[in-house]
Symmetry: C2
Subunit: 281 residues, 2 copies
């Protein structure tokens, strides 16, 4: 397939995923199984509150139950872990999402690690990451999975391509690097200590921006004809990529909003239903 | 520290590690704890038999008990997994090493995954890999850990350097890529599908060869002054790097034999003692 200049429409990709999820939810309902995602929000960060609400609402739109847990700002690590362990044991819950970030006094990694692998539908545990890296995870981390879903949907060639990932977080840069590697890309992972980042990005056939800085990736960093996936989502709906500048250089690019974000949520819903289907067995 | 041309002497690094391990074994003995590594060899591959024997002998040389299990060629996956589970439950065993590769009819990954994380001193499970990737593993995979140990021993600068890893296996290329990334290198992972490998290697400040092909990396692929770590160990004691050619270009290089190999074994011994020390608590 020859690609012309293409805006990678995350809403269209998400709708395709969600349509399929909805059918599977209907089928499960006919077997008296109601998939249920527990979301945990700690504290009062308004963006986190918005994200978690969106996720809960999206669940309900597709017939997935949403158990919304809101813990106070002063929750301790121990209390949060105890809450997660209770959800791990609850037979009604198919997936657990802990909204990131949690207040800074909490050991976020300890909380993530408390989520049982069977319910880690957001793909945040180290065990889930290891399985993803080795190519057999049930629930790959949602944002990287969304990026791969967009790539697959638009049949973007990956094998033998040079992918440059900017960012190395446990839930984005690292897992997407491994997923691209498993699809036979040559992968360079860059970060804040990378020397001469523009010249490295310039080599990329595929650029993944996962750095959390608005308009960080500039147009003159981009090789003509590159594919750009912007996983950034900064204040004011601004991506990590300077869209105006990069659009002209890229062969294909995700907008923000309407790119990776909506697909991420659809992956979460899909994984929740994947998990619920295991109840049947 | 300014490095002159340097042969990275794995035997010296291993001896430093082993000296410390030996002291710790003596201390444990004084507390009536005898560290014990179980090694499992399946079938009759002569190189595997040699490697596993070396590991067992090295254990005994330092006062670590070596429980050597040799299963017949026709062992099934189920039988191997059952053997591993028994070792998981044995309170006398601190670590389990399954010699790789196992006969091809066995599901090697399933066997590796059966090793409990507490005894995965060789660092082969996906859970161990995830912990390594996130920077909190007790027992990082031994060959990558050996490479990092050599780097640390010789104080080779890593932060901000461009490291190119050739190979992406679960026990070598992938974990060493993540370990270098966690030490703030910019990391490119290459493999059989990489296009124009020489030009990518040419950019590297640090080259890790982990491809399993004798003399694969050529001198004219190497940037002047690069550091080369050769994890290859092919028939006839030949590395993955053409040593003669690459020596002239490199600032520092590991020989084969006497490079990464001996340090790998010392890491295994160290991890076994790390595990035994937990019995004290």
């Amino acid at each position: 397939m020859v690609l012309e200049k293409l805006i990678l429409d995350g809403i269209a990709v998400a709708n395709t995923v969600k349509e399929h999820v909805k059918e599977r939810v209907e089928y499960l309902k006919s077997k008296d199984i109601r998939p249920c995602l527990a979301t945990i929000l700690v504290g009062n960060d308004p963006s986190s509150a918005t994200y978690v609400k969106m996720k809960g609402n999206e669940c309900e739109r597709l017939g997935i139950l949403s158990k919304r847990i809101h813990l106070p700002e002063e929750t301790t690590t121990e209390e949060l872990v105890a809450c997660i362990i209770e959800l791990n044991h609850s037979t009604d819950i198919d997936g657990i999402l802990l909204q990131h970030p949690v207040p800074s006094h909490i050991d976020e990694r300890a909380a993530f690690e408390a989520i049982s692998i069977e319910k880690d539908v957001d793909g945040v545990t180290s065990q889930g990451f290891g399985q993803l890296a080795f190519g057999f995870s049930d629930y790959p981390c949602c944002t990287p999975a969304a990026i791969m879903q967009i790539i697959e949907h638009y049949k973007i060639p990956v094998e033998g391509k040079h992918a440059v990932v900017i960012g190395r977080s446990p839930i984005l840069g690292k897992p997407v690097s491994l997923m691209l590697l498993n699809k036979n890309a040559t992968v360079t992972t860059c970060h804040s200590k990378t020397v001469d980042l523009p010249s490295i990005v310039k080599q990329a056939d595929i650029v993944v921006a996962a750095v959390g800085k608005p308009n960080f990736v500039k147009g003159d960093w981009i090789k003509d004809g590159a594919v750009i996936l912007d996983a950034g989502y900064n204040k004011g709906n601004i991506g990590d990529v300077d869209y105006e500048e990069c659009f002209n250089k890229a062969r294909a690019i995700t907008p923000v909003p309407g790119g990776v974000g909506p697909v991420t949520i659809s992956m979460l819903l899909k994984h929740t239903v994947d998990s619920a289907e295991k109840r049947e067995k």
